[in-house]
Structures are given as structure tokens and as C-alpha cells.
């Protein structure tokens, strides 16, 4: 158990280390210097040299890399090449916004997916189950940004019930915050819920064929009760895996959704940084997102051990 934990932790640390190299490496292979990119092709050599000196871009690449990673470890993300502002506080604000989106839509996805998936599995031979299953297949095919545009067309433009875009921090105006949160979270959560529901369905279907469920039924438990008491915990393992893997999808979905709803989160920050050619900011945000995905994968691995005691003794 401890060994397994340690080996997973080692993989996490190694992956993080390699990610820093990959992300930094991508930026280094760039022809020309980041300073030239930030200032544009028409910038004079003198101003490029000045910017390079200011940010230490004239130092050897290895030194720059170590400096960057050292900064990351201290949560010092450097200063923007374009605005020259400290990056860490900016990103912290944006991270909060994106976390609101991602966490609430994950909750919504679970609230939709678990009952729906179980229902689809229990009724898989009946018309209602097949219909739900077909509906979820359609949900899988709709990307979050499309759902977003369509929801805006219906609820903001046509019905005028909810704001089409914008973001208000919850401390400023909680009511407005909630109103503006509804559509983006629906866009992300409905789609993720549809995808997740299909996994819940197949996991529950697998479990329903197990001997212990038959035994429970033979003892006289009704199907639903047998499933809830003996089945759901077993069905949770594949579902947790998928939930973890989907976080990457959800983060990407959030990047695009933030664009649709003009929300000042990490995604908007990343796209603005790309537009401003602010490479250090791009580097930092990408690294942050990748770190989030890797850490969630690690947590998912730990969750297995909690859910399934059988795995604790293996290896």
C-alpha cells in the first residue's frame, strides 16, 4: 500500500518535471527570441536587446529554465513581457474563476450522470432505457461551446431569462454571480453529464451481471436495492477513472466556454496571452493546466485504493 503510494507519487513528480521541460522546450525551439515575438517583427534590435536584458532572456537557456522552474516552486511565475505586471496574482484571480466553472459543472455532471446512467442500465431492455441511451449519445456529440451558443440563443436572446455573458465575483453581487454562472455551467455540465452517464450505464451493466448481485437477488433483495447495496461501489471504479480523465476535457471545455461567455478565467487569459504574444504568460498558464491534470490523475489513483480494498494488496 505504502509502496504503491510512493511509486505513484514518484510518477507524479517525474511527470511534472518532464512537463516543465516539454513546455519550456516548446518555447525555446522558437526561431528568434521571445522578446522579438512580444515586440513584433518591426521592433528595433535595440529595443529587443533591452527587453531581453530586462527579463534575462540573454542568459543561457539552461539558466533560464532553472530560473523558471525555481520560480514555479516558489509560486513566483515571473513578469509579463508585455504588461510587465507580476503574473502570479493575475493567474490566481483567473484560477478562482475557472475553478468555479469546473467544480460546479463537475457536480452538475455527476448529479445528472449517476441517476441517469443507473436508470439506463436498469432499463436497458426497455424503450425508456434505449431512448435515454440514444439521447445521451446525442449529448456526447455536442461540444460544450455549441451547447453554450445554443443555450444563449434560447435563454438569453429568445426568452431573456438569463444574461448572455459576463462575470461578477460572488463577493460583489451573489445574485448576479449565480445568474451569470447558470448558462456556462449548464453548457459544460450537460455535455460532461451525457458522456459520464454512458460510462455509468456500462459500469452498472457490468456489475449487474456479477455473481454477488445474483446472490443478493436470491436472498430476496429487489433489483434496485441489490444494486444500491452491493453494486454501486463496484461500479464506481471505472466511473471515477473516467471522471478523472474527463477533467482534461473539462478544462479545455472551460477554455472555450470562457470565450463564449466572456468570462475572465484561465482560458481567456491563455487566449489573450496568445493574441498578445506574451510567451511567458502562455508558458505559465499551460504549465498550470497540465499540473492540474496530472494532480487529478494522481488523486484518482489514490481514490481507487479508497474505493476498492482489493487493489491495496496488489503489487
Amino acid at each position: 500500500m505504502i509502496l504503491r503510494l510512493l511509486s505513484r507519487l514518484a510518477v507524479l513528480v517525474a511527470s511534472l518535471a518532464v512537463s516543465t521541460m516539454v513546455v519550456f522546450g516548446f518555447m525555446v525551439v522558437l526561431p528568434g527570441s521571445p522578446a522579438r515575438v512580444a515586440l513584433g517583427v518591426n521592433a528595433s534590435d535595440a529595443s529587443v536587446a533591452q527587453l531581453e536584458q530586462e527579463f534575462g532572456l540573454d542568459r543561457p537557456k539552461g539558466v533560464q529554465y532553472l530560473d523558471w522552474v525555481g520560480g514555479l516552486l516558489r509560486f513566483d511565475l515571473g513578469r509579463s513581457y508585455v504588461s510587465r505586471a507580476e503574473i502570479a496574482p493575475q493567474i490566481a484571480d483567473r484560477l478562482q474563476v475557472t475553478l468555479w466553472l469546473v467544480v460546479t459543472s463537475t457536480v452538475l455532471a455527476l448529479v445528472i450522470a449517476v441517476p441517469l446512467g443507473v436508470l439506463m442500465a436498469v432499463r436497458h431492455r426497455r424503450a425508456s432505457g434505449v431512448l435515454l441511451s440514444a439521447l445521451s449519445q446525442v449529448g456526447v456529440a455536442v461540444p460544450a461551446f455549441l451547447a453554450g451558443v445554443l443555450l444563449v440563443a434560447l435563454f438569453s436572446v429568445r426568452l431573456g431569462w438569463l444574461p448572455a455573458n459576463g462575470w461578477t465575483p460572488p463577493v460583489e453581487d451573489p445574485a448576479m454571480f449565480l445568474e451569470q454562472l447558470v448558462l456556462p455551467v449548464l453548457s459544460l455540465g450537460l455535455v460532461q453529464g451525457a458522456v459520464l452517464a454512458r460510462y455509468v450505464r456500462s459500469a452498472v451493466l457490468d456489475v449487474m451481471r456479477e455473481d454477488y448481485i445474483r446472490t443478493a437477488r436470491a436472498k430476496g433483495l429487489r433489483p434496485m436495492r441489490a444494486l444500491v447495496r452491493h453494486g454501486l461501489r463496484n461500479a464506481a471504479i471505472p466511473v471515477v477513472t473516467v471522471l478523472g480523465l474527463q477533467l482534461a476535457t473539462l478544462l479545455v471545455g472551460a477554455v472555450v466556454i470562457e470565450r463564449v461567455f466572456v468570462i475572465p478565467g484561465l482560458g481567456s487569459g491563455l487566449l489573450d496571452a496568445v493574441a498578445n504574444r506574451d510567451l511567458i504568460l502562455v508558458q505559465d498558464i499551460v504549465m498550470l493546466l497540465v499540473t492540474a491534470v496530472l494532480i487529478v490523475n494522481f488523486v484518482v489513483d489514490l481514490l481507487y485504493l479508497v474505493i476498492d480494498p482489493r487493489l491495496r494488496s496488489v503489487r
Binding site: S19, P143, L271, V282, V286
Partner: protein, 277 residues
């Protein structure tokens, strides 16, 4: 059994429709997709414009058909590249030393931490936007899917009697791989290709929605959707047309993948592969 073939037929028809639209667009479109006709601005569906016209008076149907080309091109290249790299990697991971297989799988886990859209945004920051960047990014992030599917399939094949017999007969590993293992995992590869194609379409649409895919003068479904966003009041149709096209294409490839899976290998465990999206 009847439902299974239904999946295949619906999926296959939707995919065929997209391919047909793309192919026909090479020889015929109702109008020039780039032709700006000011008096047709935001025109509704009519005999002249079956699906209406956009904010510049360009014919929506023509743009949709040419957009199918972009979608398929990005899908074919990125999935093709991913398969070309991922399949050999999966075979190597299954057939050579165990430690190498483990390392390759750890690496593929690692690549999964870089979703296609994120990778594309990063590459765009460096090299500028473009279809090629989108294809590279989607291709790289699709490699692990192929490597994993082929590895797990190959590991099963490796334990069969005929492979053991071939090894006992002194066949070289490369020979066994090409002659026995690869043909037996082909169905897995085909199914994965179909599902990956659906994922590639989603990624391409997201990228061109963000303005990071095809250049503005090349019609693409994602960009059409993005351009419609400011016109939801006047012409919600402009969002619905490309939106439905994206959803139907993705649905088509997903269903085709499901149908092929049942057709090619009924024993195969249902392995929903939306995970890599």
C-alpha cells in the same frame, strides 16, 4: 442484433453524408462559398439560398459543404498520423521487453495530460495559427489512444496458442508481429480510428471556433459557429446550421465506431473511448 446493425447503418449514413458533401463541393456548390453578396445579407432560407446566407451574404450551404472538407482533412491527417505512430508503439510495447512497455505506457499517460486544444494553443503562440498546427496537435494527442488499444489487443494475441507455436518454431518477433499480431488487432485499430475521428472533429471545431484553426477565408464549421454568435438575435439559424453539422458528424463517427466494434468483434468488451476526448 438488429439494434447493432441499426447503429452501424445510422453512423455509416451520417459519415457518408459528410464525405459526400465534401467530395461534391470539389466539383459543385450552389454558389461560390466566398462570394460576398451585400443584398443577400442574413437572407433566410429560399430557393436561391437553401440554408440562407450569412452576415456578408455568403451562401450558407456552400460554406457548409466546403467546411466539411476542412473537417475531414484535419480528421484524416491527424488520425492517420496518430495511427502511423501509435500502432507500432503499441506493438512494440506489447511484444518487446516488459520494462519498455511500461515506460511507453507511462509516456502515453503523460501525453494525455496535454489535450489537443491546449497543445494547439501552445503551438499557435509560437508558430501562429493554421490548419497544420491543428492537425499536428490533434495528431499528437491521439497517439496514446492507438498505442493503448493496440498494446492491450496485442497482449491478448501474444498469449494465444498460435503465437506461442510460432515462437516455438523460431519465428522472429517482427515476423510474428506482422503476420499474427497486427492482423488480429486490425479491427481494434479501425474502431479506434472511427472514434478518434469524432474526437478530432470536436477538437478542430473548438480550435476554429477560437480562431486558431483554418484561416478566415477558408470556411470551417467552428468558425461559422463563432461568427454566428454576435447574430443570435437576428439569425439564430446561422448558429444552428454549423452546430447541427458538427453534432451529426461527431455522432456519425461515434455510432460508426460502436457499430463496427459490434460487427468486427462481438466478443470485444464494450470499451467506450470518449475518454480521450
Amino acid at each position: 442484433m438488429r439494434r447493432r446493425s441499426g447503429t452501424l447503418v445510422i453512423g455509416g449514413s451520417l459519415v457518408a453524408m459528410v464525405i459526400l458533401a465534401a467530395l461534391v463541393s470539389f466539383v459543385w456548390t450552389p454558389h461560390d462559398p466566398g462570394l460576398v453578396v451585400p443584398q443577400d445579407r442574413l437572407a433566410g432560407p429560399s430557393g436561391k439560398h437553401w440554408l440562407g446566407a450569412d452576415k456578408l451574404g455568403r451562401d450558407e450551404l456552400s460554406r457548409l459543404m466546403v467546411g466539411a472538407r476542412t473537417t475531414l482533412l484535419v480528421g484524416i491527417v491527424s488520425v492517420g498520423v496518430a495511427a502511423l505512430i501509435g500502432v507500432p508503439l503499441g506493438l512494440v510495447a506489447a511484444m518487446t521487453w516488459r520494462w519498455l512497455g511500461e515506460i511507453l505506457m507511462r509516456v502515453s499517460d503523460f501525453v494525455l495530460a496535454f489535450p489537443a486544444v491546449l497543445l494547439a494553443i501552445m503551438l499557435t503562440a509560437i508558430y501562429g495559427s493554421g490548419v497544420v498546427i491543428a492537425m499536428i496537435a490533434i495528431g499528437i494527442s491521439t497517439i496514446p489512444a492507438f498505442a493503448r488499444v493496440v498494446r492491450s489487443g496485442a497482449l491478448q494475441v501474444m498469449s494465444t496458442e498460435y503465437v506461442v507455436a510460432a515462437r516455438a518454431a523460431g519465428r522472429r518477433p517482427v515476423g510474428i508481429g506482422l503476420r499474427h499480431v497486427l492482423p488480429n488487432v486490425t479491427s481494434l485499430i479501425i474502431v479506434q480510428a472511427s472514434v478518434s475521428f469524432a474526437i478530432a472533429i470536436l477538437a478542430e471545431a473548438a480550435l476554429s471556433f477560437l480562431g486558431l484553426g483554418a484561416p478566415p477565408d477558408v470556411p470551417s464549421w467552428g468558425r461559422m459557429l463563432q461568427e454566428s454568435q454576435s447574430l443570435l438575435q437576428q439569425a439564430p439559424r446561422l448558429a444552428i446550421v454549423p452546430g447541427v453539422a458538427i453534432a451529426l458528424a461527431v455522432l456519425g463517427f461515434n455510432l460508426l465506431g460502436d457499430g463496427l466494434r459490434d460487427l468486427l468483434d462481438p466478443r470485444l468488451q464494450q470499451r467506450r473511448v470518449e475518454v480521450q476526448r
